[in-house]
Amino acid sequence: MKFEKHCLWALMALGAMLPFVVQDQYVLHIAIMVLFYAILATSLNLVVGYVGEFSLGHTAFLGTGAYAAALLSTQYGWPIWATIPTAGVLAAIMGFIVGGITLRLQGPFFVIVTLSFAEVLRLVADNWIALTNGPMGIAGIPQPELLKEASNLAAKQFYYAIVWALLALALYLSFRFVHSNAGRAAVAVRENRYVAQSIGIRPLSYSMLALVLGAMLSGMAGGFYAHYISFVGPEVFRFAFMISMIIMVLIGGKGTLVGPLIGALLVTFLEEYLREAKELRLSIFGLAVIAIVLFLPRGLMGFITQRREARSSAATSLQSTPAADGRPA
């Protein structure tokens, strides 16, 4: 818990310093995408890592948030300060509805039904032309007044600050959840539903809490995305987003808070630098996921924690011999 907390503080502090060091728009754009994906991966991890149900429908919440923000700002002229939280609330409501139906299922059934929810929403976005403008999407989402006069670089810095704050909020809420009685209850449900019930836990309450929290966070990320890209189309429901999120959570380590951040960093950079090898890129990711699942089932962070635990228990049993003072994990 301490280690995790320190890691999170260190990563967020690094993130806060970045825009002062880097003045390059392109790098800043990638950094914004890293933080955006970090929010998504963190929110997915709440469901996959802590409740232990594999949701393939997380784009439903991302898309709901993105469309909500897009519609509210283009049609009703809401400012970004209002649209992002509202996007979160609407996605949370969507999460409650989807969860109410799907969380009664477990294992493969849950996976399939959540997947179909995202797919249905994509079809709705594609075909409800009156509201969503169909496959054309919603373009020209207005930028905040503040940025009217600002340079491109200043705009990037502004969005960077917003996404950093959103990620900080996401991590704060997740950290509180995970290290609370509610988080322990969710883990108990993940590990063994019967034991959970026998000690007084109602499984649905906690899988629902994690799902709604995750939905809210990815809805806010979606709202941010709508403003930042200034265009939202049905492809926010695409499976590609889902794949990126899954890879990030798995590579980084599900069930850890730091893991998805590392995953988001690695995958976004790889996606960017392997852009030239378009087709090959997906194959490489596929191989990477297979390797991770086979050799590091708990992801990079799980691996590191395991090493630390092994080392500290070895250290205590050898009464802290010099062998234990290797490089810090």
Partner: protein
């Protein structure tokens, strides 16, 4: 199911568990038929019988994992028949499982800490904005978890992942996990399975120390006759889903029907 029953969390009330005419069939097979018995405050009751006699089904019926076809379960004055498992736990009836059931990827301490779920429950917003009250509760449950681990003799294993414990340690951890929920009635399903005779004896001693201080009464299903006869105040014998006999350990050991059905004739045969 009575919802008013759910508010009785006060440990003060010493209530008996009353089972009357409990029955359940699975596709024409009567797994449990017309079972009645009581577990009174301050008692350890043993539930024994041959394999397939319906003991575990009985447990599942009482704790709400199955809904009974007939009969009723009362806890004090409250009718609790067919309540959800987590309702039963919240009322103070906590069980362990026959197949070892613990939270495998967590450490011993984390397992027992998780068991304090009900004690550490808080309003939802407190999860995200914990104040001093929550921190104090956390300290208290951590303290209590450490004490329970200590009491069951797992102190040297406190930070060991549950997945690497020995069979005997696992059984103790299961009891610790159930105890952490601070039950009034503790229901143990074959807690000594896989223990050697020395471990089983120690386990029996631990059980006796629990009574009074930590739990009000214990209902135990067990095949280790040495253990059951030693710890139980009363024994209920089941055979083919029906109640065969009930009495003190001495009465049961002398009962010819029980000997025929389960205990075996030994030297007399």
């Amino acid at each position: 199911m009575s919802t008013s029953a759910l508010n009785h969390n006060a440990p003060a009330a010493r209530r008996p568990l009353t089972v009357r005419g409990l029955g359940k069939s699975f596709g024409g097979i009567h797994a449990v038929k017309d079972i009645s018995f009581d577990v009174r405050p301050g008692e350890i009751v043993g539930l024994i019988g041959p394999n397939g006699a319906g003991k575990t089904t009985c447990f599942n019926l009482i704790t709400g994992f199955y809904g009974p076809d007939t009969g009723e379960v009362r806890f004090g004055a409250d009718e609790v028949t067919g309540c959800k498992p987590y309702h039963m736990a919240r009322m103070g009836i906590v069980r362990s499982f026959q197949k070892t059931n613990i939270l495998k990827s967590l450490t011993v301490f984390e397992n027992v800490l998780t068991g304090h779920y009900m004690e550490a429950r808080q309003p939802l917003w407190r999860t995200f904005f914990p104040g001093r009250a929550v921190r104090e509760t956390e300290l208290a449950v951590r303290d209590s978890a450490a004490r329970i681990v200590q009491m069951l003799g797992l102190a040297h294993r406190i930070n060991t992942p549950a997945s690497v414990l020995s069979c005997g340690e696992l059984r103790l951890l299961e009891v610790a996990l159930a105890l952490a929920a601070k039950p009034q009635i503790l229901m143990l399903d074959e807690p000594a399975a896989g223990l050697n005779s020395q471990e089983a004896r120690n386990f029996g001693e631990i059980l006796k120390t629990l009574l009074g201080d930590l739990v009000q009464s214990i209902l135990i299903v067990e095949h280790n006759m040495g253990l059951v006869m030693n710890v139980s105040d009363r024994i209920v014998v089941m055979n083919f889903g029906e109640k065969l006999a009930e009495g003190t350990p001495a009465q049961i050991q002398a009962d010819t029907r029980v000997i025929d059905a389960y205990l075996g004739g030994g030297k007399k045969a």
